[in-house]
């Protein structure tokens, strides 16, 4: 049954549902109505299931977590963010968050699907049959998904902050959650992301310490830099040194840095093959 469509076709369908959620929310907002939480949630859930199928087919084919190229990393990051939204997003009681999540899901999946070069080389058994390395990679990318959701929440915080400072509270702004709730959610998400990335690095370091020759320095530097930035933001927030708007901007910057670091992570696997594929792309 699942073989009716190829993995990429399943993922296109998933992107379609995320885009449908985005469209539904946009139409509601243009009309000045509250976005329909249920319909957007259903669209995201449908997209999530289809993406799960697509990534599952890939994982089966590659013999592990589908993180073999940039396309898969972007897909897995989107899937991670949406997993977290589906698990904890409902408690936010904010249909606006659903709208922004569908935005993120659509952006990451459509971007990765629309650049064939990212998926030109499909590497298999990239973890060498080592489950710890696979867990390390999966946790690291999952933490990036958490940072994605954190970036969305930070965006909502900045909008709410702007509305309160500029005294524009009607229309679209009236659908935003309270600024204190958003701040609490930001802190929890950042804490979760840091914890997951710390675990990922801990699992990875056990493996690297046994065989330091396998360590790719640019990948290690990029990943540790993201972790250090996230941990620093969390520490400064706890000390009351990075607050409110500045904290939200820092969280947005953190997600941008995490996305940029994915290039180093991906190139570290098979730099030669990746470069060849990019050269071969039209």
């Amino acid at each position: 049954m699942l073989s009716v469509l190829s993995d990429r076709q399943w993922l296109w369908c998933a992107a379609g549902f995320y885009s449908a959620g985005l469209l539904l929310g946009t139409v509601s907002l243009i009309r000045g109505q509250r976005t329909s939480g249920v319909s957007i949630f259903c669209a995201i859930l449908a997209g999530y299931v289809l993406q799960f199928i697509g990534l599952g087919i890939r994982g089966h084919a590659t013999g592990g977590c589908p993180l073999g190229n940039r396309f898969e990393i972007f897909q897995f990051t989107a899937w991670s963010a949406i997993t977290l939204y589906l698990v904890v997003g409902v408690t936010f009681r904010s249909s606006v968050l659903g709208y922004f999540t569908s935005c993120l899901g659509a952006a990451l999946t459509l971007l990765s699907l629309s650049i064939p070069a990212w998926d030109a080389v499909r590497r298999t058994h990239i973890f060498g049959g080592n489950p710890w390395i696979e867990l390390h990679a999966a946790l690291a990318i999952f933490s990036y998904g958490v940072f994605g959701l954190l970036a969305l929440t930070s965006g909502l915080f900045l909008l709410r902050h702007f509305s309160l400072k500029s005294k524009h509270l009607g229309g679209w702004f009236s659908f935003l959650p309270s600024i204190l709730d958003l701040d609490h959610i930001e802190v929890r998400l950042l804490g979760t992301g840091v914890a997951l990335l710390t675990l990922a690095l801990a699992f990875g370091s056990v493996y690297w310490s046994r065989d330091t020759a396998t360590v790719n320095h640019s990948k290690l530097a990029a990943t540790v830099a993201v972790w250090a930035a996230a941990a620093a933001a969390l520490g400064l927030r706890a000390m009351g040194r990075l607050l409110a708007r500045r904290f939200a901007w820092a969280c947005l910057a953190l997600f941008a840095a995490a996305l940029l670091s994915l290039k180093a992570v991906d190139d570290s696997r098979h730099p030669g093959a990746a470069q060849a594929a990019e050269r071969a792309a039209p």
Partner: protein, 364 residues
């Protein structure tokens, strides 16, 4: 004798100014029900009496029943019938049903979208049901009116946004703190508007209130009424960090709360926002406080502008609501009309001497 029909007769704020409405206030609904018991052909009756309207909803098999209700009411109130004729509202059939839908939805209210009228219509219906004068037709029409009102309030912006300064202030706090249960509110000054705002905070769940005023006895009086604590006015700014919301309404000729004092308080609570609502004229708070991080300062003009924008937004929704309600009124009327035309409506006693008799009829 003609087929029974639904009617409404009465007077509302649209045509009756306050001094006229004062003379129309019903002292005793029971008394008017007694007067109306003798109106021939009157099968069902519900009386809606509020500060903005007095309306009689009825079902009658006699076309003159509405006029007789009006005459009985004027006689009871000692009100000139000719004057009432000029200001009255009188509708029948589907239009009467639509009017009730609009009233219950707050569409016909002086303050469009207000919620209080919904409860008042419910009370009017409950009183009619309890006295046995709400029969199958009024039961149906009122129930549908409640459903319609809930629908438009949920699916349109007719009830969104607050339109009084006190409630706008509370909404602002909710935009910052979410639930107000844990928000600590300091009321500075003993002015009327400050007290009204404090009451609004209390009614929306704020449990921790304190009042500080130059006149301690007045502050204590207000605090007692609110179930709040009192705070000495002198040196209140040293306690500022303990509060999330500060409502200022003193009559001081100059600012009583400086940006520096707020800045000092914020250094002790940097992660928690502070909402400062300045309702005083001249202003109580230095305007530069608005530039501080995590401080949100609103003055009387800001709140009035928000209230006005909310009011305009509600009024912009009126036509959409009206279309929704008209559709629903058509629906209920298509069910009620054949039932009325069949004439199978038992007599209810407007004086309430035979409770429940009307309600036993099969609903249309």
């Amino acid at each position: 004798m003609s087929a029974p029909t639904l009617f409404v007769v009465g007077a509302t704020h649209h045509n009756a100014p306050l001094e006229v409405r004062e003379r129309l206030v019903l002292e005793s609904e029971a008394a008017i029900r007694g007067d109306l018991a003798s109106v021939p052909g009157l099968r069902e009756l519900a009386v809606l009496s509020t500060c903005n309207r007095v309306e009689f909803y009825g079902v009658a098999s006699d076309a003159s029943a509405a006029d007789l209700v009006q005459a009985a009411f004027c006689a009871r109130q000692k009100f000139d019938p000719a004057e009432f004729q000029r200001i009255r509202i009188s509708l029948t059939g589907r239009d009467a049903a639509l009017h009730l839908f609009e009233v219950a939805s707050g569409l016909d209210s002086q303050l469009v979208g207000e919620n209080e009228i919904f409860g008042q219509v419910k009370e009017a219906y409950a009183a009619a049901a309890a006295s046995g004068t709400a029969g199958a037709v009024l039961n149906r029409v009122f129930q549908k009116a409640f459903q319609a009102a809930k629908h438009v309030r949920t699916h349109t912006g007719i009830a969104s946004g607050r339109v009084s300064v006190a409630n706008v202030a509370v909404d602002l706090a909710a935009n910052i703190f979410g639930s107000l249960a844990g928000a600590r509110v300091l009321v500075l000054g003993t002015g009327e508007i400050g007290e009204a705002t404090a009451r609004a905070f209390r009614s929306r769940g704020a449990a921790d209130l304190a009042v500080a005023g130059r006149r301690p006895e007045r502050a204590a009086e207000i605090a007692a009424g609110l179930g709040a604590a009192t705070l000495p006015f002198d040196g209140f700014d040293s306690r500022l960090a303990d509060f999330d919301v500060v409502v200022c309404s003193t009559a001081a000729p100059a600012a009583v709360l400086s940006a520096a004092a707020i800045g000092r308080a914020m250094r002790r609570r940097p992660a928690r926002p502070l909402l400062v609502i300045d309702l005083a004229l001249p202003r109580d708070v230095e305007p530069s406080a608005a530039d501080l991080q995590n401080v949100f300062l609103y003055n009387l003009d800001d709140l009035a502008l928000i209230a006005e924008a909310n009011r305009a937004a509600r009024e912009g929704e009126i036509e959409r609501c009206r279309a929704m309600l008209a559709h629903r009124a058509d629906g209920v009327w298509s069910h009620v009309q054949p039932y009325l035309a069949s004439g199978a409506i038992p007599q209810a006693d407007p004086a309430g001497r035979s409770p429940g008799a009307a309600g036993q009829a099969a609903a249309p």
